[in-house]
């Protein structure tokens, strides 16, 4: 594996193996000194053309804990403001010696394009509406580890609630969850659903009330207020009446059911209930797990050359 651009680049076996590797990373993260020398001498550049605090910090923390050097680039404080092109930016940073780029960009496909301009590995940290693969991996990790079913989500039902159409998180999650055996039900107004769901392997529901008491996972997406007009929703209140997680709805969740959210939470919009009041909430655990998953991804891409092997038998 050279790049991680989309969950679709990963075979189901590779997904399972990254989740297993994240268990090793979680053990490291639980130590008093959470640092190992695994990626000593490697350089990871985080290049964010779109605002993000948690994903950038999560990747940088992951790289630091594996002893890689971290280079940080944010578009707002860079030569992009002086008109430097994306290609020039990448080529310039590459020339400084980078082993992996972690890219966030508002245009779908930008990370794929960047692989043409550098020898380094490229990790997609969110591109437009397209993909956010490490988010889907950390979500699958959080769900499988909470249900103690290490390699599968077989027989579990996940409701993904909110603006599916404009969500790279939803696209990535649906791919990973369904391949691990989960049933996915999308809960959204018609305008927040893609025009065709053919081939997605999902079902839909027209309100949260339809599914809240039967699903194993409630996955709330962030609602952007500025998209309300496009959704032809008369008001946030009307949206909330059908799709917001209220204290009443949260109380109807099954005892074992989990509440997830990729953050940042929009209190009073999609999350009317205080998540700390929901026993099944694993929203902060997602953040913690994100570091372990990103360590596993960085280690998979940079930790070794799986095509070269020594065959000297016992290796001690």
């Amino acid at each position: 594996m050279k790049h991680l651009l989309s969950t679709r680049d990963l075979s189901t076996e590779e997904i399972v193996s990254i989740l297993a590797m994240a268990d090793h990373m979680a053990e490291i993260n639980a130590r008093a000194v959470p640092k190992v020398p695994a990626l000593r001498g490697r350089t990871v550049a985080s290049v964010f053309f779109e605002d993000s605090t948690r994903t950038r910090l999560s990747f940088e923390t992951a790289a630091t804990r594996l002893s890689a050097e971290v280079m940080t680039f944010t578009a707002s404080s860079s030569s992009v403001n002086k008109g430097e092109s994306l290609r020039d930016t990448i080529e310039t940073l590459s020339a400084m010696g980078v082993d992996a780029f972690v890219i966030r960009h508002k245009s779908s496909g930008a990370p794929q394009q960047i692989t043409q301009w550098t020898e380094a590995s490229v990790i997609n940290a969110g591109d437009g509406w397209h993909q956010h693969p490490t988010q889907a991996l950390l979500d699958a990790y959080t769900i499988t580890r909470n249900f103690k079913e290490l390699n599968s989500m077989q027989g579990r039902t996940v409701a993904i609630v909110g603006d599916i159409k404009h969500s790279r998180v939803a696209r990535s999650d649906i791919d990973v969850f369904t391949r691990l055996g989960a049933k996915v039900v999308l809960v959204a107004p018609a305008a927040f659903l893609p025009s065709s769901l053919e081939g997605w392997g999902v079902t839909t529901a027209e309100s949260l009330d339809e599914v809240i008491d039967v699903v194993d996972v409630v996955y709330m997406l962030r609602i952007q207020r500025e998209r309300m007009d496009a959704a032809q929703m008369p008001s946030l209140r009307e949206y909330g009446s059908l799709f917001a997680l209220t204290p009443e709805r949260a109380a109807r969740m099954q005892d074992h059911a989990l509440l997830l959210h990729p953050g940042p939470i929009n209190r009073g919009v999609e999350m009317v209930v205080d998540p700390s009041m929901v026993p099944g909430s694993r929203i902060l655990q997602q953040v913690t797990n994100g570091i372990s998953i990103r360590m596993a991804v960085l280690f998979s891409l940079l930790g070794g050359d799986a095509t070269t092997t020594l065959s000297n038998g016992a290796e001690s």
Partner: protein
């Protein structure tokens, strides 16, 4: 696949392995009068079954002492990533703070010493042991680092390219004869 034929010979049988594990357990008890300080740590994955057998034997010899048993995964500490595929075993599990303890590090085969070097670095992330002793079932020579074992099941002279396999039922050396198949 190997392009040359191989010759396989059994060096230790199942009873030899049992005897070696009993002898090493006695040596560990003898060398460490204060057994309360000792922690047995197996190296993932080849050393863990040996560590747990030693742990059982020590419990029989000194039932009044409960010696902690742990495991260490060294895949994040190797110095030869670019030479080998990543093989992740089971995660590290060190049940106690190692500071001030005597760690008996356990592996199946001692070869170049690089895995042991990595394990020493890994152990240090769980505290500062007072001492680390090394127990191996087989010492096959060819050291590339200044590392020696404290307890050995069997010294076996080998060619660098031989393969040594160690399991509860015995120890086998597979030698390439160099003759094409």
């Amino acid at each position: 696949m190997n392009s040359t034929s191989t010759v396989s010979s059994e060096i230790l049988g199942v009873t030899d392995v049992d005897k070696a594990l009993k002898r090493i357990a006695h040596e560990i008890v003898e060398r460490n009068p204060d057994l309360n300080d000792v922690v047995i740590v197996g190296m993932q994955t080849g050393g863990t079954w040996i560590a747990s057998r030693l742990h059982e034997n020590i419990a029989q010899i000194s039932p009044e002492v409960s010696v902690p048993l742990g495991a260490v995964d060294i895949s994040m500490y190797r110095d030869d990533f670019s030479l080998r595929p990543i093989v992740l075993s089971a995660p590290t599990d060190i049940p106690v703070d190692l500071t001030g303890r005597t760690v008996v590090l356990v592996d199946d085969v001692l070869f170049t010493g690089r895995t042991v070097r990595a394990a020493l670095e890994a152990l240090n992330d769980h505290g500062r042991p007072r001492a680390v002793q090394l127990a191996v079932m087989v010492d096959r020579g060819h050291r590339e680092l200044p590392i020696r074992p404290d307890y050995v099941g069997k010294n076996i002279p080998t060619h660098f390219s031989d393969e040594v396999s160690v399991g509860p039922v015995g120890v086998t050396v597979v030698a390439a004869t160099g003759e094409p198949l």
